[in-house]
Amino acid sequence: MAGTGLAEAVRQAKGIEWKRLEFLEAIVYNVGPYFLLLLVWEGVRVFLQPDPRFVPDVREVIGELIYILKNGILVDYLSRSLLRIALAAGVAIPIGILIGFGIGLNEAIANTLLPLIRFFNSIPAIAWLPLFIIWLGFKDQTIILDASYGLFFPVVFNTIVGVQTVPRVFRDAVRTLGGSWWHVVTDVILPGSLPAVLIGIRTGFAYAWRGLIAAEMIVAANGLGYLIFKAQSMILADRIIAGMILIGLTWSFLDYFLLQPLEEGTIRRWGLVQR
């Protein structure tokens, strides 16, 4: 009887009641912060009573979101911005990781490239924009290049740290198993540097978005940056805020559906990071 009591307790602990509680918790944690944000926003509106043209109310912004969804702007602009950011990521991440590996593993490469990378890292992507426009014109390539520029540096710097913090004994272990330099790179350095590389990609994406939005404001006639920029000339505060919400939500979705599953399947599964 005592045995079944214990089994029952274990079953309950793992059981449906617990699952339901977890689900509720997940909703509270995922929606709660945004709810708080809305409260502050409405609080400002109700108590400080600013000009409604400058600080629109939540319903107006939602109305604007529905409006641009209905007239097709939202889907069109969002998909263009997403495509650009994807192309920027496709360029900057592999190059960033490759150069990070080179610098992290080879002193000669480090001595050659690191000073240059530090130099260019201090120049913001927006400062490059005029030059990129002169070189490439008012084209998508200009926007993609500008977004890649911001993404590249955090990936490089974090990859370097990732490569250099992989415990040396792992390399020694693989070498004593008969592994070549290439085995060390693929079996040790690559997975071992992943936590840092992922931080680089996360941080880098924030810069990529900045570059993208800034470039779209100036270069493009579409995309989320253009949406916001254009709204300013028409004093459409609700559309500006709607655009900001779209940018934030888009990134949250990308993080949730791309980066987080990647982390779950790798560095969390391996116990390299703990909750």
Partner: protein, 270 residues
């Protein structure tokens, strides 16, 4: 070169330079010894006497400043699968499961899948890790991790197994368990084992011979033969009078070196 000796260390002197202080340290001074095929030899000595350095040199992970190291009558020029190594920090890869860690060396050497699986299964059984095949290292205890590391090394069937203080990071009870297991296991193995430790008990019980090293710069102080053959050694051997004498001799020998080192450090500081 003597026939039959598998590891031959001849007049090895090794310096290393500290990267930050730029100080050059003499780690090993004119070290020579030989280890026969199938022998289990332990190396003990005070901290910093270069005993781990010696293993790294034999593994080929470092090159000696002077002198020569030969394994199977061939000079060591770099690491190779004929000299497996078990590290104090376990060094099994966190991103590989128990199974994939043990099969790693075989994968590197291109052993075909079926043969590989067969070997891995055998070693998982040998070290008693059935049921843990798909666990990742962070889910294992220290003792289990070191078992996996040992299995990974043995799976490649290296001629020489180099063990660098393999039980130093474990708690005392686990340490004793693994020590006894290794002793038993070694009777089934034909590999030559070179085992570095701080523990006199470990060295006395495991080694067919024990090399005692001096304080830094490490030199061979003496090489002592175990009075009890490996086959007859077990936990009760610890109470055997002949063994106790042998163990005490080793203890005094190392202790003297430790005390000299401590004294010299005091003098240097004052």
């Amino acid at each position: 070169m003597e026939m039959g000796s598998q590891i031959c260390v001849r007049n090895v002197t090794h310096f290393y330079t500290n990267r930050y202080t730029r100080e050059t340290v003499l780690a090993l001074k004119d070290v020579s010894f030989e280890v026969d095929q199938g022998e289990f030899v332990c190396i003990i000595g005070p901290s910093g006497c270069g005993k781990s350095t010696l293993l790294y040199l034999i593994a080929g992970l470092m090159k000696p400043t002077m002198g020569e190291i030969r394994v199977d009558d061939r000079p060591v020029t770099g690491p190779g699968p004929d000299r497996g190594m078990v590290f104090q920090e376990f060094a099994i890869l966190p991103w590989r499961t128990v199974w994939r860690n043990i099969s790693h060396g075989l994968e590197i050497q291109g052993v075909p899948r079926e043969k590989r699986d067969e070997i891995v299964r055998r070693y998982i059984q040998l070290i008693g890790l059935e049921g843990f095949e798909n666990k990742y290292p962070y889910e294992l205890s220290g003792g289990m991790k070191q078992r996996v590391a040992l299995a990974r090394t043995l799976a490649c069937n290296p001629k020489v197994v180099l063990m660098d203080e393999p039980f130093a990071a474990l708690d005392v009870q686990t340490r004793i368990t693994l020590r006894n297991e290794l002793l038993k296991l070694s009777l089934q193995l034909s590999n030559t084992i070179l085992f570095v430790t701080h523990s006199v008990d470990e060295a006395a019980l495991l080694g067919d011979r024990v090399i005692v090293m001096t304080k830094r710069p490490g030199q061979v102080k003496e090489i002592v033969q175990n009075p009890i053959p490996r086959r007859e050694r077990n936990e009760r051997t610890l109470e055997d009078p002949a063994f106790i004498r042998y163990r005490n001799h080793l203890f005094q020998s190392v202790r003297a070196e430790v005390q000299t080192a401590e004294y010299e450090e005091l003098v240097q500081r004052s």
